[in-house]
Structure formats: C-alpha cells, structure tokens
C-alpha cells in the first residue's frame, strides 16, 4: 500500500494539500519531524510551503528533515513533490530577507521576481504554464492551463531542470523535474480541476 508523507513545517495551511492528496490516495500521513518520517517509510513525499523561505528552511533543519530527505529522496529515489517554498528550498541558495542555504538538489538560486512594466508584486492569481519537456510527467497535457500562483520570489536554474515556464513580464521557472524530484511554483491544491490532476499524476508515479 503506497504511503504519502506530507511534511509539516508548522507554518501555513497544509490542510489543503492534505485534502487534495486524499482524493487519489487513502494512505496520506502528515509528519512533523524526521523521526516520524523514518517510521512512516513513505514512497512519496510532498513538501508544501507558504510563507517566508528563511523561516521554512530553519524549520526544515530544526525538525531534522534535511538528512532524512537526502537519505530518502536522493539515495533511495523516493518520489518527491515540492510546492511553492517546497520547491524553492531545493535550490542552493535563497535570497529573501537575507541569504539562506537550501538543500542544493537543484543547481540554482531563488531571487526576487524581476520588476518590469510596472507589474505588481507579489505575483498573485491564475497564470498559464508553458511546458518545455516532452517526456511523460505529472504536468503532461496541462500545457497552457491556468494555475494559482502567489509569490514574490522565483527559482533561477539551469535549463535542464526546467519543466515549465510562466510569463510575468518575463518567463520565470514555474516547475522543475529532475529524476524523481518535482517542484512547482504554483499551488496545485488551490488550482481547481487542473490542480487536482497534478496530484492524481503524482500519486500514480
């Protein structure tokens, strides 16, 4: 029986990620620290995240998730989905109210959205994604669909990781895929039917 672990960093609303996961998988467990995560032995891990990245990184380390995630996701290839901050944390460095060292799984940095054309920041609302990878993935057939975004920072990384881009004055990275690791800048749990599809595909991996 597959087990999905949702990591709780103690900040923000993770219930909506839980609720959306439960549609396609009965066995979903919220874990608050590394010990619980080792006990659960999940075959899928979701790291949701809203709020400030520095706080999220601090909580991740405090709860012992860093080593545990390296063991499970890098060594044992457990499928991983990072949402919003949960994706940003995968970078080497995050520049938001200071500099924070991320997990470094993705060679890249998180920086403030580039301001141009008087665009509002944060970037809030529904925006479409342009998928760059043809191989089958959790966003297949969702090209040009609208997803809900709310963020002021974005990941900048090598093209090889980029699964989709989204236009907001320029094309920023809206999702990544690297082996068993997925990251989405948008909130699939808040993106109506197309968002549910992302969970469905991830659960089916």
């Amino acid at each position: 029986m597959p087990k999905v672990a949702i990591l709780d960093l103690g900040i923000g609303n993770i219930k909506s990620v839980y609720n959306a996961s439960k549609i396609y998988e009965d066995n979903v467990i919220i874990v608050e620290n590394a010990e619980e995560l080792y006990n659960v032995k999940p075959d899928k891990i979701i790291l949701p995240g809203v709020g400030a990245v520095g706080e999220a990184i601090k909580e991740m380390r405090k709860r012992g998730f860093e080593k545990c995630l390296n063991d499970m996701v890098i060594k044992n290839q457990v499928n991983f989905l990072g949402i919003c901050l949960g994706m940003q944390i995968l970078a080497e460095e995050c520049h938001e109210f200071g500099n924070f060292k991320g997990l470094g799984w993705i060679k890249g940095q998180v920086k403030a959205l580039k301001k141009n054309n008087n665009l509002k920041v944060p970037h809030v609302g529904w925006n479409s994604i342009k998928i760059l990878k043809n191989e089958k993935n959790i966003l297949s057939d969702l090209n040009n669909k609208d997803f809900y975004f709310t963020h002021s920072y974005a990941l900048e990384c090598d093209e090889k990781y980029i699964l989709s881009k989204t236009y907001y004055g320029y094309d920023f990275v809206s999702s990544i895929k690297y082996n068993n690791i997925y990251g989405v800048q948008f909130h699939p749990e808040k993106s109506a039917k197309d968002g549910e599809m992302v969970f469905r595909r991830f659960m089916a991996l």
Binding site: G12, N13, K15, V50, G51, P122, W126, N127, E196
Partner: protein, 263 residues
C-alpha cells in the same frame, strides 16, 4: 499571462449569508454552505468570506443538517468548506490578534483580510507578514467620496478616519501586506458600477495587487473596471446571489471581450 480575477464575496451575519447595502442594511439571503457549493460549481477564481457580525459569535442556530458535524462557529464553517474548496479562500472579519490570524489559516484560510488591525495595531500586521508571508495578508480599506475626495472610514464604515485614501493605502503597502481589498462604501449595494476614478488612482500608485469592490450591477461594470483601471481583481457580493448564474454569464461575457480572464 496573468489573469484578471473575478471574485464573489459572501457577507455573513449570525451565520447567515446576507446582502449588504451602504454597510448598514443587511438583508437575509440564506444558508452560506449551499452558496459556497454553488460557487464551487461555478468554478470561481477565488472566494472571499467576511464575517460582518458585530457580536463575538455567529452561527447562533445549531445546525445539524450538514453532514454529521454541527456548524456552530466560524471555525467549524471554515473547516467544513475548505475540505472541498480547491481554490484560494480569504477570510475577513473579527481579526484582532496574531492568534486570530493563525486560527483562520490553520483551519483552511489561505489569506486573511484585515481592516481593524491596520488602524489600531499595525505592528501586528507587520508581525503577521513576517510569520505567514505577505501573500497571506490582505489589507481591506473602506472609503467614502466626500467633496470629490476619497476618505478612509473604519469600524464597518462608522468612523471617519479623516485620512486620504491614497495615503492610507500606501501605509498598508508599507506594512508589507500582499494585496489590497478596496471597498467603496457609497457604492455598496447600489449596482451603479465601480468607482473607477479612485480604483484607477490607487491601483496605479500601489505596487501590490488591488481587488476592487463595491457597486457591481452588470457584467459591463466588471469589464469597465478591467479596461479602465489597473485593478488585478474585481469583487462583488449581492449581484451573484440575485441574478441567476451571474458568475458564469459574466465570465463568458468577459472572455469574449478580453483574453486576460480565466475560462
């Protein structure tokens, strides 16, 4: 392309959905849960729910007809609807402390809408932005137009703050909030159309997204607001409850005119 949002607002009083006019007259419409379900069927972009009850507690009727759980409090209500709501939910009303904000976010709100705190304890607003991120905090500002000048009112439109709208909204932005919910009291419940002049002025002056509310009476009004101002979203209450299928009808109308709305 980022889409312009069309957002229904539900005003709750004593646990019932009400129609609001000039912030003073509130007419009973019905059970909020069935209305939330209707919004979900309409696939709305986002939902705003504001508890305008002056009393500390709403939901006086002990309701047992929704599934098995009785709905007695705003928290019960939020928990119940957020289970199936797969769109952003913003909650406003009676938010006086960091704990009030936390309670709402933990029970399913993605954003909270603050108004009182901005006036009476703005350091809490700054702390909330730090703790939950600016995307989770929406500042609500109510105003009336007096002698051609937009003036801020607080406490459900009762108290004249004697401040210009522009100055106050810039202050809200400085506190770090992620969005501004702009409500024109004179237009509330009138169906005369949005206060385009002030919405345009504020949305141009601010760097954060502005949600414009107050006065929607037809779908042309939504279009006008999108074409003539830089508002990122338009919101309306009454009209979605009184006109049959008004949300999908408005969306279809907007989609024919502009491509920057979500189908």
């Amino acid at each position: 392309m980022l889409k312009k949002r069309l957002i229904p607002v539900l005003f709750l009083k004593e646990g019932n959905l009400v129609r609001s006019q000039s912030f003073t007259i509130h007419q009973y419409i019905g059970d909020p849960i069935s209305h939330v379900k209707r919004m979900m069927d309409w696939n709305v972009d986002e939902l705003i729910i504001i508890d305008i009850d002056p009393e500390e507690f709403s939901f006086q009727k002990q309701r047992n007809d929704h599934k098995s759980k009785p709905i007695n409090t705003m928290t019960d209500f939020t928990k119940l609807i957020s289970e199936e709501l797969r769109i952003p939910l913003a909650l406003g009303g009676k938010i006086r402390s960091l704990d009030d904000i936390k309670l709402r976010i933990q029970n399913g709100a993605d954003k909270v809408i603050i108004n009182y705190l901005l006036s009476y304890n703005h350091t809490i607003v700054e702390k909330a932005v730090e703790a939950f991120g600016s995307q989770a905090i929406v500042a609500s500002v109510d105003y009336k137009v007096i002698d051609n000048e937009a003036i801020v009112f607080t406490d459900h439109g009762k108290n004249n703050k004697n401040l210009k709208l522009l100055d106050w909204t810039l202050f809200a932005e400085k506190c770090g909030v992620g969005e501004l919910f702009l409500n024109c009291i004179d237009r509330d419940g009138t169906a005369k159309g949005f206060d385009l002049e002030n919405i345009d002025k504020i949305s141009k002056a601010l760097n954060i997204p502005v949600i414009a509310c107050g006065g929607a009476g037809s779908y042309d009004h939504f279009l006008d607001c999108f074409l003539k101002t830089e508002a990122s979203a338009v919101a309306a209450g009454n009209i979605f409850h009184f006109k049959e299928n008004f949300y999908p009808i408005s969306k279809n109308f907007l989609l024919e005119k502009i491509n920057s709305v979500r189908p």
